[in-house]
Amino acid sequence: MTVDDPTPVGGHVVVRHHRVGVALHRLADGDAGVQPLLLLHGLGECTPPVPPSHLRWPGPVFGLDFTGHGRSTIPAGGGYTSEILVGDVDAVLQHLDRPVTVLGRGLGAYIALLVAAARPDVVRGAVMVDGPGIVGGGVHPGSPALLRPPDSDGPPDPYALLELSRDVRPPDYAKSFADFAAQGSDLDTPLWVATVVRPAWIEAILGEPGVGMGPVEEGLATYR
């Protein structure tokens, strides 16, 4: 489903990310002259059936389900990292084949930062908002307990819930990605922090060049 595909609003297509099928949902049509808004959900969530009512975006709105969530593939045996979810988004960006603005909740906010750094020429602004998984696993590994999640078919995959909630996010690591986004984008503020909760990885990027801060509406207005 590219932006011009006839997939109806409320429908989805499956984009291949190697062995995983990533569900890409079309949530709203809009002015085709405006770049699409791509929603990245929080940990354990999935793409909502309609765009949140408080979001005003004049262009098309899409959302993807991360691996192990929603209508995307649930892999056997876990192995989740934030970096692999960046691959999910990258596969969708390649599929859409045009610049997008990204709005990430919780875990999706962290992924939005990484994707904005990885593809600064395609991501026309990444807005980060509160949601499940915003904190991650802290700034360094915790006690090395080996935990298996309870048996459950999902979605969401219980391995995703467990492993991605332990995902380590060192501040200097996050800051590097903010630097990449600022250096690679032609936007003045390619990153926008709209979170109330500010774990160390967000504190590390606040005040960096190219990082704006304020309400989500203001952030989205910056990129429309």
């Binding site: 045996g77 990292t81 596969a91």
Partner: protein, 314 residues
């Protein structure tokens, strides 16, 4: 007899390659299901002997222990090794991660009789078993780390801007790799071809040994031999991991520790120096630095390393 690959000589046959002196295939094979991923477990030695778990390195497989493991078994151990996910005869997985490898290892260990077992690991396998000493202390009686101790220096000597540049390049290369995967397959070739290719990463190992490895770690189809390892795996990748996180797992280990380091640096090794490891060793740990030996200490000097391990575990 070592015969140069290529040239006018006929291709090495399976039988000739398999006849490596001192190499023995494991006596028993079974499968452990780790949350839906089938792990192939290999065993050697008396079934009633005390078990010893043996973890291979990244891009290796349990068959790389085919000379070393029989020496441990002859010393009275039931040697249990396994192919990590995506390696050797184990299943290819959707996802790969350090956490997944740890849980897989724990699943294999859970199939051993109750009680503590010695853990031996090479390279990445050394890191794995070191981590398990902290995560499963009730299951571990001793640790042997074979050239699997990362170097703190590897990162601390790198300037911030250089580290940042490396991260950006790694991220870009990793994403391009992900985009290019498709239905990728390993390149086919003769036994000699595959041995020669592996020799680029294992330059210190003999051609005869590399050809032997092909007969175990590769499979033959109509168009030739291919390594079994998941073709989607690649060296490197990007992530937040720091080598010091592994080093910091050493001081708190409460069981006897033997660390063995090869002092000759090579592509697949960590380049770790003894003085970087010693401050992190737990009290009473034994440490052996082998001069004139590379990363694959158990392959270059199987008898000497096996003697060290057996004496340590006695």
């Amino acid at each position: 007899m070592t015969v140069p690959p290529g040239g006018d000589r006929p291709p090495t046959t399976f039988a000739a390659a398999r006849a490596f002196p001192g190499a023995h295939r494991p006596e028993r094979r079974r499968t452990v299901c780790a949350a839906g991923v089938g792990l192939t477990v290999w065993e050697l030695g008396d079934e009633d002997a005390p078990p010893l778990a043996l973890a291979h390195g990244g891009f290796d497989f349990a068959g790389t222990f085919d000379v070393f493991a029989p020496l441990l078994a002859a010393g009275g151990w039931r040697v249990v090794s396994w192919d990590q996910r995506g390696h050797g005869d184990s299943d290819r997985a959707h996802l790969y991660s350090w956490e997944a490898d740890l849980l897989d290892a724990a699943e294999v260990i859970s199939t051993l009789p109750p009680g503590r077992v010695p853990l031996v690991g090479h390279s990445k396998g050394g890191r794995l078993v070191t981590h398990l000493c902290n995560a499963l202390p009730h299951r571990v009686s001793a640790l042997v780390n074979l050239d699997g101790l990362p170097s703190h220096r590897a990162m601390s000597d790198v300037a911030d801007h250089e580290r940042s540049r490396q991260l950006r390049e790694e991220m870009g290369a990793w994403l391009e790799h992900r985009r290019s995967l498709g239905e990728r397959e390993r390149k086919p070739g003769t036994i000699d071809d595959l041995a020669r290719r592996r020799g680029r990463m294992n330059s210190r190992l003999s051609e005869d040994w590399l050809r032997y490895l092909v007969t175990v770690g590769a499979e033959e189809s109509a168009d030739g031999w291919r390594w079994k390892i998941d073709p989607t795996m690649r060296m490197g990748g990007f992530g937040p991991w720091r080598p010091q996180w592994s080093l910091l797992q050493l001081p708190g280990i409460g069981v006897p520790v033997l660390g063995i380091l090869g002092l000759d640096t090579e592509l697949m090794g960590w380049g770790t120096r003894p003085e970087e490891v010693r401050p992190y060793l737990p009290a009473g740990a034994r440490f052996e630095a082998l001069d004139g030996v590379g990363h694959f200490v158990h392959i270059e000097q199987p008898h000497h390393v096996a003697e060290l391990v057996l004496e340590f575990l006695a």
